[in-house]
């Protein structure tokens, strides 16, 4: 499955159909998020606490 098809399938699953002209930029953006995953995983490798999560509805301490 191409990245284009994957993204299209995900959007269809959310009930969204999108014009083909929007897809090249959209796929590029999604690909950039995917390209950042190693950087995210590098950060996670720095800790031994697997459940660490920001309290999104809490308060910055």
């Amino acid at each position: 499955m191409t990245l284009h098809d994957l993204v299209k399938e995900k959007l269809l699953a959310e009930g969204v159909t999108i014009n083909d002209k929007d897809f090249p930029a959209l796929v590029t953006w999604y690909a950039s998020y995917q390209a950042g995953r190693p950087a995210v995983e590098d950060l996670l490798s720095l800790i031994d606490e697997p459940a660490v999560a920001f309290s999104a509805l809490g308060v910055a301490k």
């Binding site: 994957l6 993204v7 995900k10 959007l11 959310e14 009930g15 969204v16 159909t17 999108i18 014009n19 929007d22 090249p24 930029a25 959209l26 590029t28 953006w29 999604y30 690909a31 950039s32 998020y33 995917q34 390209a35 950042g36 995953r37 950087a39 995210v40 995983e41 590098d42 950060l43 996670l44 720095l46 800790i47 660490v52 999560a53 920001f54 999104a56 509805l57 809490g58 308060v59 910055a60 301490k61």
Partner: protein, 467 residues
Amino acid sequence: MTALALDLAYLSLTELAGLIRDRRATPLEVTTQLLDRIDRLNPLIAAYYTVFADDALAEAKVATDEIAAGRYRGPMHGIPVAVKDICELGPTTAGSKVRARYVAAEEATVVRKLREAGSVLLGKLATYEFAIGTPTKSSYFPPARNAWNTDYDPGGSSSGSGAAVAAGMAFAAIGTDTGGSIRWPAFANGIVGLKATYGRVSRAGIFPLSWNLDHAGPMTRTVADAAAMLQAIAGEDPRDVTAVAGPVPDFSARLGRSLKGMRLGVPRALFEESCDAEILALFNVAVAQLQDLGATVIDVPTVTHNQVMAAHMPMMAADAAAYHLPDFRARPDDFSPYLRTMIGAGLAVSAVHYLDCQRAREVIRRQLLDGFSEIDAYLLPTSGVPMPLIQDAPGDLAHLSGDGFAVYTGVFNLTGFPAMSIPCGFSATGMPVALQIAGRPFDEATVLQAGHAYEQATPWHSRHPDL
């Protein structure tokens, strides 16, 4: 001296407050003069979508009468201010065709608090579409213009807030900031932008971009003005569970104090490789000036810009997608191409990816929090890129993806730390450049103290566009 004899446009908020308190100027005179200026300049700057001329004059008359009767409320009393058009107050468009005819039934908490402080609400200010979608000359709502050169973008997403304050079309404005949308337009317009700690200012009644990254805060011409406006809008709010309960400190208490003994940390790894050479040179001069003022400046370890963007962007896009999904399903073509791209990409982010970003965010927060064992505040450029020209049409949006957008503000949305942008010079092309100071959670006072000391030792805050 009568108030009408003064050129009020570029007075600071606190200078004007002194005149009003001492009854050397009345809110009605000031508001009348400012509305005339808005009438003259808005066709050029396009900072306002809506001007509440009649209501503002009525509010100014009430404030004038109250002060004449000895009921002066404080530094915001009678001060004409404006708010970004994602804050609910009358017609609230978010700069989008999607909300073009929406009229708010309630007012955002920041608006209510400004009213309680006695401020005069001038109108609603231009914004990037839903606080993210970069406008072009072909956008449904016209883009605000940079007051220093109207061919240039005033930054965003609080574009009208930045342009209005820089152009002397408001004494202060409310902006919002999810990845830098107060501080980047502050950089672009040569003004002060303060994003206080996450939880310091209620977001109730403000259209969300990302529930867990959004902040609201002041955009002003001086640091003291930012402290005064923050004082008015800070504090708990039953309408926003993230707004922190308890007493609000005096944000102006440490203005004017020496920087002797203050330790500032420069996270060079965050910006040095991607920062424009001219901006970096101006920043390094500012570092030396802060040392001359008594601060100790050291380089400190940090995460990279790439790591920040990798954690920040998918979360922001997914949060935006969650908020906009019903409209996006029903009428996607009412969103601009930029919004369609961002929402679509956000919809595709997996739950696992999102949670990993949240976990990575906490690693970043802990790392930067640990840094405060050695320093009192972080010091870095606000942006590493000069301001772009306003485009005719969206064009190729693909280049806006990834970490190529070298604006160094998002890290303090991830961490929730208070961060302020203040001018630190001008480029060879005459456009403003700024630095950023960020402090410990809920230690806005240190940020304001350092920013004020720098501001008072430099001339940048006294320069204004010739309009």
